[in-house]
Symmetry: D2
């Protein structure tokens, strides 16, 4: 894979700017927010809390890929509007998932960064389309994607002209059922060594267990991650979706502190 655009051989390490936030640079970047965008009041309180403790980017799902067609599918444009209003209010860039080429224009009216979810990592049509944009893309690893497959998915975006790609390790599917997925932190160390694109870790999906998120956040940063994406809520147990893996604002605050402490010590 040494001739790919994603490879260090092809140029300098990539810095991805999401408005005023740089991913892949000196500072570790924290992305946080609820699994699904909820009503304005809840989103306002979450964002307010996250801003205070130093979170950089606000996340929230408006289009939700759900296993069952009968489950809540997200508030769609309504959710995007709420997300943008709150993001503007607290001067936080927002990232949200796009699931289909035909929704790109709509989502672009509100979002600062587009997320390609785990289920769409192999959706090459979608990858090619977002490759035509300049907007930063957060590319989650497919649930059973090998490292080369994941890097080639990034290459699909870059080969179409968009170098603003950030990878997101979110655990892989294995026989083990204790955690929702098996967080593969060796992949983070490997990618930082040989590839140009920044990588963040999502310990929320990676473990599926709230009580493991703080520990695995620190472990992810120690493996070399450029940042974290953490599902959080002011009242985690009341989150519309993924409550089991959602942490409180306080927990995110503790994580931010530990990341800074670690980063201060180990920055080269």
């Amino acid at each position: 894979m040494e001739k790919l655009l994603v490879h260090k051989n092809s140029g300098l390490d990539i810095l991805v700017k999401v408005k005023n936030i740089v991913i892949g640079g000196e500072e570790k970047v924290i992305i946080s927010g609820p699994c699904s965008v909820e009503g304005y009041d809840t989103m306002h309180d979450i964002a307010s809390g996250l801003k205070k403790i130093g979170v950089h980017i606000l996340r929230g799902g408006a289009f939700k890929p759900r296993t069952s067609p009968y489950d809540f599918q997200g508030f769609m444009e309504e959710g995007l509007k709420t997300l943008k209003i709150v993001g503007d209010e607290f001067n936080m860039p927002i990232v949200t998932e796009v699931m289909d080429s035909k929704d790109i224009d709509l989502v672009l009216r509100y979002a600062d960064m587009l997320q390609i979810g785990s289920r769409n990592m192999y959706n090459y049509s979608l990858l090619k389309e977002v490759g035509k944009l300049k907007t930063p893309i957060l590319l989650k690893r497919g649930m059973s994607a090998t490292l080369p497959e994941w890097l080639y998915a990034a290459e699909y975006i870059m080969a179409n002209g968009n170098e603003n790609v950030v990878l997101c390790e979110r655990g892989i599917r294995t026989f083990d059922t204790y955690t929702r997925n098996t967080l593969d932190l060796s992949s983070v160390a490997a990618i930082k060594q040989k590839y140009r694109i920044p990588i963040v870790v999502d310990p929320s999906h990676g473990t599926g267990r709230r009580e493991l998120v703080a520990r695995m956040s620190l472990s992810s940063i120690a493996a070399g991650a450029d940042g974290l994406m953490i599902e959080s809520h002011i009242t985690p147990d009341k989150a519309i979706s993924d409550a089991r893996q959602t942490v409180s604002i306080d927990t995110v605050g503790q994580i931010v502190k530990n990341v800074r402490k670690f980063d201060g010590m180990f920055r080269d």
Copy 2:
């Protein structure tokens, strides 16, 4: 899952008609053809051979989901045209993959059945769109999809109004590397017991090894499959893609004979 449309509780077993061919009925259905649609002459010779030995449906990829953006991506509309001309010539219905909502109209002008590939099984936007059609859908299992996830994917299509769904088991991703994937034939037996939708098996992707295709075809039928999808070519070693798992027309002929022999003996 007992309240789902896919469950036997919700109605009679589904028979899917692809032009004059019925999948899920008394006769086992054989789908065959090359991985990628090639030029007219090659397609003509393949279809001619397959028709003679009793193959029912012709397959061929015009839009190819490839791991690398630099690999051959299929002949697209050109390929669809070739496929349709040859299908008409030999009176064989054709099935081909659609990878994106925006291509549905184009592919529908040529194909009798739409394939949703393994990489798009979780592409819920695409599933909803093909759910609005009446065209038969061949839904391949995602490479790491659990049984419920796969059945819910079918439910996405059916809940939107299209009950013409056929499942296709094509192997799952495991630690084992001897075969390209691990063919999960127990899933076939399980689905035939509890669910209404027909299921066929693709032993070509399931094994990735030409020399195992005939044996595993018979094994699939013995597990209860309603049919088979087999990659074949007049000169397998010269196939544009997936040559390693492509068999000759003669091998397909032998498979057809064995399937009929088995079916004659074990039909209830």
Copy 3:
């Protein structure tokens, strides 16, 4: 692996004689019995039923490898005695598991074939010890063993002098939880093509679901298996262990009939 004793290059296909029963020859061999050996009366009734329907070899566990140290660990020598008495009564050879080198002599006093269980496939000390015997060995696949690892385990036995080895495919561990394990029937087809040692399939552990055993038995034979090992009981719901995957004597009878019917038609 072409220079290994297990490879077809190294000699004729191996026929393993267990008393008067030949595994690997023309006739498919059926091994059946309860997961754990129970009391004499139950074992007598099970063996009596199995003998009548044509089962060749009687199985039953006396030493049971259990996940928890607090679970029932088998009746040990008491169980072996019961098994032998009943086997003699019905003139059925018996196969039972040995879990440790130090128990070999004890088990040999009663058993006609020694089973190396899935958990001990990598127990190379045990493999070397049974390699010094002439007694037939039933070598189950490790739950996450690759094909080469499994074949090398057989080679450990053969390299020490004992060529009487029969492999047993019993499913591998994957992300899928619908079935207890994922039965890998392609491994059976692959081994029959390139290796000299007979192979049987255990659809009971392979599926973990009683209702799938008959179907997957036929599918296994169609994949090329030389025989089957099936957990059965006169009152399956009352089996001491593995009740969920244990079938009735009647079901075994139906399987035997189907295997004969299939074998009669497809024998070359």
Copy 4:
């Protein structure tokens, strides 16, 4: 599993003493040495280097579980002697693998801690036997063992009377082939939260790639590990086995420094 001896409910956190070294206490413990014990001169130079940089325990394999019976199987008693001489010389306790009940007495004459390897984690006979000792046991995770299975394996040892058990996470087997195994650091965080037994991580087997060992060592400690086990050599490329994952003494030195730095900052 809340009633198990391994659970925090059953008593204080366990401290395992290996001669003068305590695992599970305040200080992180570093175990290092070559995959296989080699000749005296090499072992002397390795131990000398490791002692200087602060490694606590010396490791080396004398009985080697190898996939092929034709591969080097270790120097056995000769290797144990060398290991003990060198350990005494540098006042370092030694840990080495025992593969069979019948070798326990022999290995006990030389070793301070017995390792149960990944392939023997389900070898319940062996677990029961080492459960009768007082010697500390290093219990590696089976390559496809679930968390409960691994904890029950520890319970087998403890239930027989030996509470001196240390777990060792060494990666699990998944579809991913970039790394030799997939290091499951969430298991470390989970075990530290709910169970009493210390746990160390083996990033050498966990990644199979020398260049990832230092990063993943730090990541392991950040996940909460009580220590590390690292394969090292004075001339890594000349190691008899596992050269690809063996690091230099200098690399171990760097790891020791980083671990101390981290530990100093984050100790509660």
